[in-house]
């Protein structure tokens, strides 16, 4: 059993205005859908309105004071992101709309150049649709193929299987999630990257579920590309991050053409801008990037080790309590240090959507369905699961209410 948490949940909850609202029937909101998106602290919301109220301006071009302030604030967040994931330089941090766009950028700009007939991209069965469909599209266009690493029931890959697949001379890219959004399984991405690099195969990490919850270091992992989203880590929607090694970005053609990504435009040709601006065409999502900066500050103040510790404690407690419920099937790793704060489960023959409807009566926001991971659902041979996912503001009291609600669902369905 893990020991105490250094996170003061009661205090944290005061920082999130939405957690004060009530759900139909007068219930307190119990928000357990954090793997989909997280709630936003007041500092994030305030920083966005502060930008619009006090220094709204386009960035990078104008020389007036507002533009200077807005440019500084936007670029300051790039520095914060670089520091967060320990990138060597801000040149390696590109702002996109979401993690999906970050992956698509690599598929469009890098993979399209490197994939030809008979070449391969390797992913796993646990991937989110955002790390499947872009590769289906780009391998399809190139006549290349998409290969899957199969996973065990707990979502783990087989290392021998991987070692064999990675030795295929036709393999051009490995793209893998660091943490499953369904099972919470944490994959050994550092080891996987090392093996891939021995074969000169670059590695992309979908870190949408990991960066928000634990310390992630791109230099330590040595990955070539990484994608994640601001909105899954207390930030606003509409901001995704792409990390890529500078040497690779320099060789890559631009993603979209337009303003800001250019140095000079002439009738016949254009000189593209330096990194990272070459990949950020048009006016970016300035306000929300600035909001994301406030989210990073908030998480850094809590400390990522404390966040991980808190999540392990609450996940362990939830797993213990859920196991008491008759007829429950819990998916994913049993060892707490091998999983994130995500628990997928099914209860008897109650369909997850029915369960979500029942839990909503208790004020509980829980996810149900295939979680954008239909390949994994097929692998687990289920059509859907229920999923609870925790973050810094969730408490054991909320887990207790979840357990009561699940027991109530059992009674309603006569289980």
């Amino acid at each position: 059993m893990l020991q105490s948490s250094t996170i003061d949940v009661d205090k944290i909850r005061q920082d999130f205005p939405i957690l004060q609202r009530r759900i139909k029937g007068g219930h307190k909101l119990i928000y357990l859908d954090n793997a989909a998106t997280t709630q936003k602290p007041r500092t994030v919301i305030d920083s966005i309105s502060n930008y619009y109220m006090n220094y709204n301006s386009n960035i990078h071009r104008a020389v007036h004071q507002l533009a200077e302030e807005a440019t500084f604030a936007y670029e300051e967040v790039r520095r914060k992101v670089a520091k967060l994931v320990n990138a060597r330089s801000t040149d390696e941090i590109i702002f996109t709309r979401n993690a999906t766009e970050s992956i698509n950028l690599i598929a469009r700009c890098w993979a399209r150049q490197h994939l030809t007939k008979s070449k391969k991209v390797l992913i796993t069965e646990i991937e989110h649709h955002s790390n499947i469909v872009p590769w289906q599209l780009v391998t399809g266009e190139a006549g290349a193929s998409l290969d899957y690493l199969s996973v065990g029931d707990e979502g783990r890959i087989y290392m021998e299987d991987y070692a064999q697949k990675v030795h295929d001379p036709n393999l051009k890219l490995v793209s893998v999630s660091q943490m499953s959004n369904v099972l919470g399984t944490i994959l050994p991405v550092k080891k996987m990257t090392k093996l891939a690099h021995e074969m000169q195969v670059p590695v992309m990490i979908d870190a949408a579920q990991s960066v928000p919850h634990m310390k992630v270091d791109v230099q330590d992992l040595d990955c070539d590309f990484m994608a994640f989203s601001a909105h899954k880590m207390l930030g606003p929607t509409g901001v995704g991050i792409l990390f890529a090694k500078r040497e690779i970005l320099e060789e890559m053609p631009p993603f979209m053409g337009g303003g800001d990504m250019i140095k000079e435009v002439h009738k016949e040709y254009t000189l593209f801008n330096d990194l990272p601006y070459k990949f950020e065409a048009g006016t970016p999502n300035i306000a929300d990037v600035i909001g994301f900066g406030a989210a990073i500050d908030y998480l850094n103040d809590l400390g990522f080790e404390n966040i991980r510790q808190h999540e392990m404690l609450i996940t362990e407690y939830a797993l213990e309590r859920m196991k008491e419920i008759q007829g429950i099937t819990i998916y994913g790793p049993h060892l707490i240090n091998e999983r994130g704060a995500v628990i997928s489960f099914n209860l008897g023959d109650i369909h997850p959507h029915d369960l979500a409807t029942i839990l909503n009566d208790f004020g509980i926001a829980m996810r149900s369905g295939h979680h954008c991971a239909q390949v994994l659902m097929e692998r687990l041979d289920v059509s859907a699961t229920s999923r609870v996912s925790f973050y810094v503001y969730n408490s054991k009291d909320e887990v207790n209410i979840l357990i009561d609600a699940l027991q109530s669902a059992r009674r309603l369905f006569g289980l």
Partner: protein
């Protein structure tokens, strides 16, 4: 509230669906799913003298979608196609006793009606394109 939704009759049709299965010599079959939930319904129709001689469904999904499909098959069995054509969403919601479903769950309740309407579109496609078009318009339930 959930107690009003998951009444005995819904759970009974969910666990003991009526007319579930295939029709080997069906005149028409149609499949659709709810991308949001992943509910799936197939409807197989056998028509004789413009009457629904037999109807069966296959599917998987939540209690609302599956009970609704089961109850719909009972509703239209041995009924003239002309009256089945007129079925609207309120008829189905009243029949299953779920008139106050929210926007997220109403799609579960109406998926089977949508699939039934589309199977009739298929049925009429070559015989009576005008009716087919009319039913297709009416199949946009949500």
């Amino acid at each position: 509230m959930s107690e009003d939704i998951y009444r005995e009759i819904i759970l009974d049709h969910y666990r003991n669906p009526r007319n579930k299965g295939r029709i080997s010599d069906a005149d028409v079959s149609f499949h659709d799913s709810n991308p949001l939930c992943g509910d799936e319904i197939d409807i197989h129709l056998k028509v004789e003298d413009n009457i629904v001689k037999d109807i069966k469904f296959e599917g998987r999904g939540c209690a609302i979608s599956q009970a609704s499909a089961s109850m719909l098959t009972e509703m239209v069995m041995n009924k003239p196609l002309a009256s089945v054509k007129e079925l609207g969403k309120d008829d189905v919601l009243e029949n299953i006793g779920l008139v106050n479903l929210g926007p997220a769950r109403i799609k579960c309740a109406l998926l089977s009606l949508k699939v039934l309407k589309m199977s009739m579109v298929e049925y009429y496609a070559s015989k009576d394109p005008e009716s087919a078009q009319e039913i297709r318009e009416g199949s946009r339930l949500y």
